[in-house]
């Protein structure tokens, strides 16, 4: 079984880190993983995205044109990538910055005001963690607590950010589970 | 009314704030509205104070601000 998650947004939204945390979690719980970044000349601004491939067998192609899931943190990335997501996958929409919807009836689309929630919690920087938690909670792609562990490890050394991010994790899950399953899912 | 027009092309502006800092009349401010590029552009918060000295234009790395004579423009 192989599954792929694409994280996409503005540069500076912590997209790559988001994917790295998921990949790290999956590795810890024993999956084969690959994290593939987009790297381009405009290092800053523009859209950044990365793909995380999680599988129980050695991973073949690291090039994924149709990911199983999408976490879209800004409008351009939703517009660009929603159409290529495989049917039945999860599409997470960062409601705070994205006024539109994926328009896909064959996926589990969840609206999470990640940026808004993070702001309330004290820093927009945590928006990516909110989204990650929401996505993991919804997709169940990896054990939720393992993901929490990974985040804790990541912030080992930067303890003062830990509470914020732990709060982000809980808030993320909450907002994801509040929502009704889409019919199709 | 002034004989000059001070225009800020919002989508060219990257919200760096350099112009805000150099304006002798403190006319400019960063807006809260993100532009299509995802930046928060400047706008003339106090247009009435503007003396059309072009200092902001000179400082802007993105040629986002232009000054034109209104007559000149009428001709065009």
């Amino acid at each position: 079984m192989q599954s792929e998650v694409m994280f996409a947004g503005f540069g500076g939204q912590g997209i790559l880190m988001c994917g790295k945390l998921l990949a790290h979690t999956a590795m810890q719980v024993g999956y084969e993983v690959a994290w593939i970044p987009s790297y381009g000349p405009e290092m800053r601004g523009g859209t950044a995205y990365c793909t995380v491939v999680i599988s129980d067998r050695p991973i073949g192609s690291p090039i994924i044109k149709n990911p199983a899931h999408l976490v879209a943190m800004n409008r351009p990335s939703l517009e660009k990538f929603a159409p290529v997501v495989k049917p039945g996958g999860v599409i997470l929409v960062n409601e705070s910055l994205i006024p539109i919807r994926s328009g896909r009836g064959d996926v589990d689309e969840i609206l999470v005001p990640a940026t808004g929630i993070a702001k309330e919690l004290g820093s927009v920087k945590a928006a990516n963690i909110v989204a990650l938690a929401a996505f993991v909670a919804r997709s169940g792609i990896v054990e939720f607590e393992a993901m929490r562990e990974a985040v804790r490890e990541e912030f080992a050394g930067k303890e003062k950010f830990l509470p914020l991010n732990m709060a982000a994790i809980d808030a993320g899950r909450k907002s994801a589970l509040e929502q009704p399953e889409a019919e199709t899912a | 009314m002034p004989s000059y027009k001070h225009e800020i092309e919002a989508d060219r502006c990257k919200g760096c704030g350099l112009c805000v800092d150099v304006c002798p009349k403190n006319v400019l401010e960063i807006s809260g509205q993100v532009n299509t590029k995802g930046y928060f552009p400047v706008y003339q918060a106090r247009p009435e104070d503007c003396i059309f000295c072009a200092i902001c234009c000179t400082m802007c790395p993105d040629v986002a601000i232009t000054l034109s004579e209104i007559k000149a423009e009428a001709k065009a």
Partner: protein
């Protein structure tokens, strides 16, 4: 040792240190600058040498000097940077110094682009520099394999007193995958007292050593070249490495592909199997020496109707595949070059077209 999730570029830097190479000279270039950035932090921790040279041309000769003095040394660069090292590589091969080069290929020619490519196959395998020399060239298909190839590169470079190149593509450098650093691949640098300019006192010898590539007498130079040739012939005997995939049973087509490209092919082969189409693959792990025999045998299999060389280049490796197959089967090329990695779907389509 537990697995760690690492970016290919950083894993490559760490692998060199684990292999016992504490000297690194390089010039930044996308998509492999993280090797230098990682080692700028790590080398001081292990009392190693990190130096950003002023150019790839200079770096090439810093490596030459350091290797000539008997120390393990390596560098990493990407396509245009490697072109600038080609004179140095020719000198290093001529003077028989062990140096490890890592080329994380990007799109070319010229400035090209910064995304993954395999356009430097000819440059690395046939020799970008002048004169009769070869590099031993290994092409990893995963971060883990990159680590292992880097670690084995140093003893190989010393075994043959010849430059060794790790030929990866941008994805190998940019991807994160779980890696382990195998203890057993650590190696002691070989003694170099018989040739290195490490100082007569150091080796308690009264005779000086020379590190050079000039041989004005044509007969002597010819013999020197024959000596080099004998090393390359020996590599062909002893160092050929490849992996076959789905090649035990019958197959209608044989794919030859290496590096990241081969992983895409593997996925394509799995899908084709699902559709009832059997395709075998030979993945060269060394592109010089090239697994000629293996490919010829695999191509000769009754059921095999066509051989496909699938590369992220405009038809480079395919020439070696043609030489290997010797006309026994039609050989076709498919590839893209410039950063686009062909997808499994594309490969499947191409395979079907040739059946």
């Amino acid at each position: 040792m537990a697995k760690v999730l690492m970016k290919g570029n950083e894993a490559i830097g760490e692998a060199a240190i684990r292999a016992g190479c504490l000297n690194y000279f390089a010039y930044p270039i996308t998509p492999q600058s993280e090797v230098a950035e990682y080692l700028a932090r790590r080398m001081p921790e292990v009392n190693g040498v990190f130096l950003q040279g002023e150019s790839e041309v200079a770096v090439g000769y810093m490596l030459f000097g350091a290797a000539g003095a008997g120390e393990r040394v390596f560098t990493s660069s990407s396509s245009p940077g490697v072109s600038l090292m080609s004179e140095a590589i020719s000198y290093i091969a001529g003077a028989q110094c062990p140096v490890v080069f890592v080329n994380i290929m990007r799109g070319g020619p010229g400035l090209g682009g910064i995304l993954p490519s395999q356009g430097d196959y000819f440059q690395s395998v046939k020799g970008g520099g002048h004169g009769d020399y070869r590099m031993l060239v290994m092409a990893p298909a995963s971060v883990q394999e990159a680590v292992e190839m880097v670690m084995t590169a140093f003893p190989l470079a010393e075994k043959y007193r010849n430059p060794v190149m790790i030929l990866g593509d941008g994805l190998i450098g940019q991807m994160m995958e779980p890696v382990e650093f195998p203890e057993h691949l650590k190696s002691e640098p070989t003694k170099k007292d018989d040739w290195a300019t490490n100082g007569m006192d150091t080796r308690q010898s009264a005779t000086r050593n020379l590190v050079k590539s000039l041989y004005l007498d044509p007969e002597v130079l010819n013999n020197h070249n024959l000596l080099l040739k004998s090393k390359y012939d020996r590599m062909k005997q002893e160092e050929v490495r490849y992996e076959s995939y789905n090649a035990d049973g019958d197959y209608q087509a044989l794919i030859v592909s290496y590096g990241t490209m081969s992983r895409v092919c593997r996925t394509a082969i799995d899908h084709l199997k699902g559709e009832g189409i059997e395709v075998g693959m030979i993945r060269p792990q060394t592109v010089f020496p090239f697994p000629e025999k293996a490919i010829q045998e695999a191509a000769s299999k009754e059921s095999c109707r066509v051989v496909l060389s699938i590369e992220m280049s405009m038809g480079q490796m395919v020439e070696d595949v043609e030489r290997a197959v010797l006309g026994k089967r039609p050989v076709r090329w498919y590839g893209k070059c410039g950063g686009e990695v062909p997808t499994p779907e594309e490969i499947m389509k191409v395979v079907k077209e040739h059946l």
